[in-house]
Structures are given as C-alpha cells and as structure tokens.
C-alpha cells in the first residue's frame, strides 16, 4: 500500500485542467511513498482521454467505460471498486464541483479519513500532512492524518499542469455497476449568464464586492466605471443578492476575465473569485483589510475605505 490513485475530471468531451494538476500532485506523492501512480478516467471518450493521460510519471491509466458524462452514482461505485483493486495508500480526487459531488461519498463508503480542498501535501511514513485554508483564506493550517489509507481532494490551480508524455500502460477496468443504485440522472446542461455585456471582452473592469454593503451604494461604482470608461463587474455576493445580473460575475462559477486593468474594490480575494481574474494584466485592490488575500495577487494596493477613495478617484477623472 504505497501506491497513489488519482481520478481524472472531464466535462463535455474535454479533460479538465485539474486532471493534469492531479497527475503532478500524484507524482509528488508517489515519489515520497516510493509507490506507483495510477490514474483513472471514468466515462466519456476514455480511449482519447487515456492517451492524453499517458504522462510522464504515470505508471498505469485505468479507463472505465460508462456513459458520456459524469454521474455521481456511477463514479462513487467505480472509484470504490478501483480503490479495492489498486489498494493505494492515497486516493486523490479533484475539489471541483464534480469532486464535491462524489468524493465525500467515496470516502464514506470506504471508511477513509478524508481531507478536502488541500493546497499542499507531504508524507512522513504513514502520516499525511495536508495544508488547508480556513476562515476564507485568513489562516492556513496543517492537518496530520494518521491512517494507512487516506482520501484527499485537491484544490485547483495549486499544482502545475503537466503535459510531458510518458509510457504508462493503459488498462481497461471492468467495473460492475449496480444500475439499481443509480438513482440520479443528468438530463442536460445549460449555459447561463449571457446578455447585454460580455465582461470577458472588457479592457478595463471596475469590480465590486461585498464591501459595498448596500444596493444603493452601487451608484458610486457605476459613476466610477463611467468616469473611467470601464465596465462594471463584481464578485459573487453582489450577484447572489440580485444587485447585478449573473453575466457580471467574475470567478470560478462566473466568467474568466483578462482585462488590461482590473480594479477590485471591497473584494476579499476568495480562491473562487481569484480563479476568474488572476490573468488580468494589472490588478489594483482597494480594501480596508491589509491582510485580505486579494493583495497577494494585486500589483497595486490601497488599504483604505472605498467610500473615501472611490469618490476621490471619480473627482480625479471629472
């Protein structure tokens, strides 16, 4: 039990980046345990996916045919069976929305200790040490897991993707899926968030977060956006509150934006927000909290009250 088993993630015909990040994380772990790295891909075009996962450091790719798309009932059963077949020390799954939908079930079924959303991992004998965030990224923690076998879900974009090809064996895994235990059905997909503006096309974004406090106060940032000839976008809570339409949301579940200038106002910089805007050319943050994670990726910062800074900035441009 020194092997590592990582489960790839895909959607609508494409392996997702997290699959290649899982390989990197798995390779690091396998180097520490001295075991093999197994990667599994379930459902979809497993033949093509299998070839794409024949990466450097991967020993075996298990392909499991079962329908086109992700179904958590199928995944939970198949991953459990793969785990029993491979008997790995560590089972790595993605902390993606799909991962959130099956990884906890797998851990429960197998009676495994489960650490989710980890941003770093190391091994010391049979003890796994996982680095995680708590309190919305305000602190980082180390969790020691004292168990022979552990299930882990990894946060996206924390490990580099890898595309160095290798010579992994590809093996078809025959899973025995109990259809009567498949009681969920995916009936379709839908794109949301279209509409009047496409924030991903904007050169300059004035982006507002929960620091704005009240819907009425939005006028202030609207005025700023006008003065700067910029487009208005926001973090999720503003959209959840119905103050701006979904097409203005930047982030993991919103839009990925890459403007020349991104001005984040009253936005803490939660990982799901940063996922959508870290590719911006120049990032400016205005926030009262000097420790807000947004400053980790900002190029310019103003630690001050937005209700003082924004009016002054508008005045500069009038």
């Amino acid at each position: 039990m020194t092997d590592v088993l990582a489960i790839a993630d895909h959607r609508r015909g494409e392996l997702r980046d997290i699959s290649f990040e899982l390989v990197t994380a798995g390779r690091e772990l396998a180097a520490e345990t001295g075991g093999d790295l197994h990667v599994a891909v379930i459902s979809g075009d497993t033949e093509r996916f299998g070839e794409q996962l024949q990466l450097d450091g991967v020993d075996t790719v298990h392909t499991v045919e079962d329908g086109e798309e992700f179904n958590h009932d199928v995944y939970a059963q198949v991953v459990t069976q793969l785990f029993d077949a491979v008997e790995p020390q560590f089972l790595l799954m993605p902390n993606s929305v799909n991962g959130l939908d099956y990884a906890p079930a797998v851990a429960n079924r197998l009676g495994l200790a489960y650490v989710s959303d980890v941003v770093d991992i190391g091994v010391d004998g049979s003890t796994l040490t996982a680095t995680r965030e708590m309190y919305g990224g305000k602190v980082e923690t180390t969790t020691a897991v004292e168990a022979d076998q552990v299930a882990v879900s990894i946060r996206g974009a924390e490990w580099p993707v890898t595309d160095d090809t290798g010579d992994a064996d590809i093996e078809a895994f025959e899973a025995d899926v109990d259809e009567s235990a498949v009681r969920s059905t995916v009936t379709g997909f839908e794109e949301v968030g279209g509409g009047d503006v496409d924030i991903s096309e904007a050169d300059v974004l004035v982006s507002i977060g929960r620091g704005i406090e009240e819907e009425e106060n939005l006028d202030l940032v609207r005025d700023l956006a006008d003065a700067l000839d910029a487009t208005l976008s926001s973090s999720r809570p503003i959209v959840d509150a119905g103050w701006l339409p979904k097409n203005r949301q930047v982030g993991q579940s919103g839009k990925v934006v890459t403007p020349d200038v991104y001005i984040a106002i009253g936005i803490s910089g939660a990982v799901q927000h940063v996922a959508g805007m870290k590719g911006s050319d120049t990032i400016v943050a205005i926030n009262t909290d000097p420790n807000a994670p947004i400053y980790d990726i900002a190029d310019y910062g103003i630690v001050d009250d937005l209700f003082d800074v924004v009016p002054a900035l508008i005045e500069e441009f009038e």
Partner: protein, 265 residues
C-alpha cells in the same frame, strides 16, 4: 413531508487577530449562521410556505452558545431544532467529516425526513463534504452545489435540481427522494428574521442531545485528523501600496491609470 436543514454556527475572523496554538483567540471571533446554510434554511421555509413541507427541523452540532444562531433559523420559519453537543466534542480543534456524518446520521434516522438540505460548505473549516457524506451513509440520494430546486418535483418524489458547475454552466439532474441537497448561495434570497419571527422563536423548542442520547459513544467521533499548525499565510504580496489618505491615494492611482491609458477619451 418533512425537511431537515443542517445548520452551523461559524466564526468569522476580524481583520486583525492573533492565533493561540491551533485556534484563533476567542476575542477575535464573531459568530454567525454559516452563509450557505442561510440559503438552505430559506429554501426549506419556502417549501413549507408552498405547502409542500409540513415541518422544517433545523439540526446543529454546537455548544450552548450556538443556540443564538439556531434561533435565527427558527425566527425565519423553522419549526423546531435539535442541537447535539457533548463533552467528547468540547476540546476538539477539528471535527472531521466522518464524525459529523456519524452524528447527523443518527439525527436523520430519528427524524426520518424526506429531504435534507445543507450548505455546500461551511465558511470556517471549508470541508465542503458533510452533506454528500451524510447522504451516502444514510443510503439517500444526493446532489451537490444546487442552485435551483424545482419545488413541484419534490412533491412527486423526485427532486429536479440545477447544479452550478464551473464557468457559467449548469447541470440539470433528477434525484430520487429521500435525498440530501447541498445548497449553493444565490438559489434564493434569504429573508431577514422579522421581529415577530424573533419573538416566536423564543418559544420554539431547541432539543439538546448528547452522543449518548443518539446511541453513540465518544469513539464514534474520534478521528484520524489532527490540526497540528495554524498560521497566517505568508503574504506573497509584492504590490506597490499607495499611501497618505484617500485624496492622495486616489491621485496616485489616477496617475497610474492615466499612464495605462484608462479614462482617456
């Protein structure tokens, strides 16, 4: 039908704080209902108002202090609450997913709901796993990261939901009841507790339960996870900071923006 909502009191950390060992010093913490659970409570109460749910029960794992938070759920319309706490949970830095699952499983077995709603994740420990783990332990169906629930479908025994995937794509899924749904923010607009609701909540029951009451012992919540360190992340910031009061800061930022060609019509 009966709807059970799992709720958690979470701590938010002030801008400036100090860490004591593997936790944050009490004085820097402010307690509140977990953001995601607030949406779950609202969804349950809406099911009740639509005449689909006969009873909404809130369940929490937390010390007596958490009753304040649970009262919020009651003030918003939940009928009664169950609060599980025990000496065996008292000093634990970290209750892992397995421990929470073991406790909630017993409560669900006692309450026998048709639908369990829980938040996608808790703002403090961020495991994002309890709802799905609980569903699996119970043999219930489930769906994670739900941002729409077709209420009529619930009546017919199948929950038709939308799951919010990454990148503005939603998945449409049907799950058979009984089921656990983990609720994503934005699914509804959580109400504020009315004064009347707050008054009524005072008279609603919050039943305290120990592990023993649920037929569990301390071993059920022992876990292999130990928090060994907590620290403020080393700032990776190499930002240039503008300083000197709002006007001066704005002037410097304005210079930068003009340099970048922003606002130059």
């Amino acid at each position: 039908m009966k709807v059970l909502v799992t709720v958690k009191e979470v701590a938010a950390v002030e801008d400036e704080f100090q860490i004591a060992g593997t936790s944050i010093d009490e004085t820097y913490l402010e307690y509140d209902l977990n953001e995601w659970d607030d949406y779950a409570v609202e969804e349950a109460v809406q099911l009740q108002e639509a005449g689909i749910a006969d009873e909404v029960v809130a369940v929490t794992i937390g010390p007596e202090r958490a009753e304040e938070t649970i009262r919020m759920a009651l003030a918003k319309g939940a009928d009664r609450a169950v609060r599980v706490w025990d000496d065996a949970l008292e000093g634990a830095d970290l209750l892992d997913v397995g421990a929470k699952t073991a406790i909630l499983e017993k409560v669900v077995e006692e309450e026998d709901p048709d639908l369990v709603l829980s938040g996608v994740q808790a703002d403090d420990d961020g495991f994002g796993a309890t709802g799905v783990s609980l569903a699996d332990a119970l043999g219930f169906e489930w769906a994670a990261v739900v941002n729409h629930l077709d209420q009529d479908s619930v009546e017919s025994g199948t929950a038709s939901v939308r799951r919010e995937l990454e990148g503005g794509v939603e998945e449409l899924t049907d799950v058979e009841l009984p089921a656990v749904l983990t609720i994503q923010t934005g699914i509804n607009e959580p109400r504020y507790a009315s004064l009347r609701g707050i008054r009524q909540a005072q008279r609603k029951e919050i039943a305290p339960k120990t592990l023993g009451d649920l037929g569990l012992d301390a071993a059920a919540v022992e876990n292999e996870l130990t928090l060994t360190d907590m620290y403020e992340p080393e700032t990776e910031s190499d930002a240039t900071y503008f300083e000197g009061g709002p006007e001066e800061e704005a002037a410097q930022l304005a210079d930068l923006l003009r340099e970048k060609g922003v606002g130059a019509q």
